[in-house]
């Protein structure tokens, strides 16, 4: 079974036509990979479908806009994957 990161990296590569080998756990989706908000929406929907969860994009956006969170907390891929794992775990409870 692929890791969360493998699944997310493959989704990003496919959705945004980014070479898979350039995507690392330390990559920042926006700053490093150049993904814009419109493409990230598609990525989020693909993640939702792959993991059976719903990423709280509205809440994340609000937190970043309000200065309560940094983009790194949600858009650096190993952080994003940790959020996904948390949501998957919460779903199983």
């Amino acid at each position: 079974m692929p890791s969360t990161f493998e699944t997310v990296a493959n989704i990003i590569a496919e959705t945004c036509d980014i070479p898979r080998d350039t995507i690392t756990p330390e990559s920042h989706a926006i700053d490093d990979l150049g993904i814009d908000s419109l493409d990230f929406l598609d990525i989020a929907f693909a993640i939702d479908k792959a993991f059976g969860i719903k990423l709280p994009l509205e809440q994340w956006t609000q937190e970043v806009n309000d200065g309560k969170a940094t983009t790194e907390q949600y858009f650096v891929l190993n952080n994003l994957c940790a959020r996904i794992d948390d949501l998957v775990a919460a779903k199983g409870k």
Binding site: S37, L38, L41, A44, F45, L57, E58, W60, T61
Partner: protein
């Protein structure tokens, strides 16, 4: 419908904020300068304007949802299918449903029917920004009046 002025909805028939749906009507005019070029001797409602009609119906639904505090702008189209020709004089029923909102974007599924048959459909993404001010805002309210936007749906609650 005055397609030269991008007035692609004649009236809103139903707007349901519980189901997040809208239904609107429009009549394709029998005469328009657009038909002089699209196409000479074979007038057809341009597919891009059918898409625009779905975007406008979706847009009014999203404006209702945000009580005139947010304005949607077309950002992406997926699964667009223009299934058959639409010609002058035909009556369109345009419907849309909100499938996602929040995060600065909204998604709708929309379709246009003629005589009960789907003639086109699309999944539409909108970028949602603050509602415009000044002349733009006034013009939007004027359009709302013209298309019988049900103000009672947004005036309470």
């Amino acid at each position: 419908m005055r397609i030269e002025y991008f007035q692609l909805i004649d009236r809103i028939i139903d707007l349901n904020l519980n189901d997040l749906t809208i239904r609107a009507e429009a009549n394709v005019p029998t005469e328009s300068t657009i038909f002089e070029g699209h196409f000479p001797g074979r007038p057809l409602m341009p597919g891009v304007l059918l898409i625009e009609s779905m975007a406008q119906a979706s847009g009014w639904l999203l404006i209702a949802r945000t009580r005139f505090e947010k304005m949607p702008f077309l950002a992406a189209l997926k699964e667009v299918k223009l299934r058959t020709f639409v010609t002058p004089g035909q009556d369109l029923v345009i419907t849309a449903k909100i499938m996602h909102e929040g995060s600065g974007f909204a998604l709708t599924e929309a379709e246009v029917r003629v005589d009960g048959k789907t003639v086109c459909n699309a999944d539409i993404t909108f970028r949602v920004v603050d509602f415009p001010k000044g002349e733009f805002r006034a013009s939007m309210h004027e359009v709302a009046r013209r298309i019988a936007f049900p103000m009672e749906t947004v005036s309470h609650g």
